[in-house]
Symmetry: C2
Subunit: 338 residues, 2 copies
């Protein structure tokens, strides 16, 4: 079908896309068979278990139509690898199904593959298998990521306990503010941001960095962990619901980047975006109190700063305490598709 | 977002869809954690390797808007499991990402989950993890299936050799004719079909049956195998291209069901749809000549009929010989999305 378009785009069909742009991403993983077989083959290391995750991204829902293709590719892989990181897993590879409403241009595919290549190298994994098709609707990148943990090592979500210390990695809110800035560039001036601040927030939105370095620290010390993708407020509530406990968090203790700190000082209402905005891809970890200092030290050794933001509690209430000591509520906390 | 719709559909968000309709499909697979964790955990059997495949289906592209939700679900899983079957693998489980342009109704989800449950039971696998989101465009079901083979047992695509016997399982063309009938019900009379014939072709299109029983026969005897999803003409050409050989096939030897035999007798032009129409989900296997009879016997023991349709040859030409001995060409053989 659509021979005119094929000529215009310079692509001779699915096979040309797969062999020209995707197969190079599978080099280095023997079981991908150069994307020339129907399936991928994975030989697990003895004594390991596999951790699997699928989380597709779609244009205008998870990324913006004017995002660079390389950034789209990076994020599509990063959001899945971030889940593996939170479980203490090491990425092995991923399968990817690409859907386009019209044949993509060579330029788009080149930039997209380049972004994936950069992400793969950073995360230490390879493309194992893929599929491309054409259908109406937004461009969609459906990735299924596979990682490994030592047997019994996966860090769960529902195993946190009252009195555990609540930690988050890195800084929160940067990506949410980065998205606000992309929608309204004039906010940078209103928030008193320097060019470097704006760029920092923009990068944090476009190129999330899964906290893969934390694997050993999490497996060795954390009672439970998950990545923060839909906002701290919602994701902490999920962890508490799964574990059957409540939590008390002090908003003043949330770790902020210099840029986000400036913005919050200029507009205190931004605390909502910071605590519930999503796209952080940081790790939320609950750690038994007697292991907290060892956990922080192990994370520091791995180059990741962890900040204690509160504690778990008996009950089911998840309380975010404002700087005035009064609980803040997040009426529609976090992102829900329905 | 969209609180009105939530009330109308009776669904309270992603969590309600996952826990209400999908979590029951994960019962029986401990590493799914009731779909309450971020990732699935798979503990490979010692000595086995894993075979992975992702192939999404979308409304109006891979299934019709008036297909019953249970049939859509069945097919979404079957097309992936069929690839595992062709590799000699036994299904373990699958991850599934569901995308809807609008919140699905309780009725739709109930029927969809019922179809998946039936397929899971037949194929012997479970839901391991899932994701739902809302986006414009067609309803999409993105499944990634995982199976296992004894170490070294995966049957490849690129390992066929000249002089291998070419076999196909079951019968060809039924699904392609079933689709033609769905688009134009009057063809049934033109083809002289009884009601049972029509129903047979319809079912073959809607509820493909992956040939899982063939695993041992394939692993023990086949040089190469793949499933026929895009039509025999295209898929055999792919196998030959991957293996560096040609093939000679006699169209008169293609195995046909009673219904397809009647239709072909009424309209000989249907040979094109039969040999290149797609959606067969039968197995194409190339078997060294000295193993051919053992292969057929092993398949028969497993309850699957295999038919020899030709041989591989030196060179790169894939020749389909008509009943008059003249080669038939398939100008745009098989389905290509671009």
């Amino acid at each position: 079908m659509s021979n005119d378009r094929q000529v215009a785009s310079g692509l001779a069909g699915e096979e040309a896309i797969i062999q020209g742009f995707l197969a190079p991403l599978a080099r280095g993983f023997a079981g991908a068979f150069g994307l020339k077989d129907d399936c991928a083959l994975l030989t697990p290391e003895p004594g390991t278990e596999l951790v699997l995750k699928t989380d597709p991204v779609a244009e205008s829902v998870h990324f913006l139509p004017d995002d660079a293709p390389g950034d789209v590719a990076w994020k599509a892989l990063a959001v899945n690898v971030s889940d593996l990181a939170a479980k203490g897993a090491t990425p092995i590879g991923y399968l990817m199904a690409l859907s386009f409403p019209a044949p993509p241009s060579t330029e788009w595919l080149t930039a997209f593959a380049q972004g994936l290549e950069e992400a793969q190298q950073q995360f230490g994994c390879h493309l194992m298998g893929g599929d491309t098709d054409r259908r109406p609707g937004p461009i969609t990148v459906s990735i299924t990521a596979v990682g490994s943990v030592p047997g019994g090592g996966m860090v769960r979500r529902n195993t946190a306990r009252p009195d555990d210390a609540v930690f988050v990695s890195g800084t929160l809110g940067d990506a949410a503010l980065g998205l606000l800035l992309r929608r309204n560039a004039r906010l940078a001036a209103a928030w008193g941001l320097a060019a470097a601040d704006t760029e920092h927030l923009r990068r944090r939105y476009l190129r999330p960095q899964p906290r893969l370095g934390l694997g050993e620290a999490l497996r060795g010390h954390a009672a439970a962990a998950m990545d923060i993708s839909d906002g701290l407020a919602k994701d902490l509530s999920r962890m508490c619901a799964a574990s059957g406990c409540g939590a008390q968090v002090r908003l003043a203790d949330l770790p902020l980047s210099t840029a986000t700190g400036k913005a919050l000082a200029a507009d205190p209402r931004l605390v909502m975006a910071i605590a519930a905005g999503g796209d952080d891809y940081e790790i939320l970890a609950c750690v038994p109190a007697d292991k907290a200092s060892d956990f922080v030290a192990a994370a520091r050794l791995a180059g990741v700063g962890m900040t204690r933001i509160g504690s778990l509690a008996v009950g089911s209430e998840v309380i975010f305490e404002g700087s005035d000591g009064v609980p803040v509520s997040f009426p529609s906390s976090g992102w829900d598709h329905f």
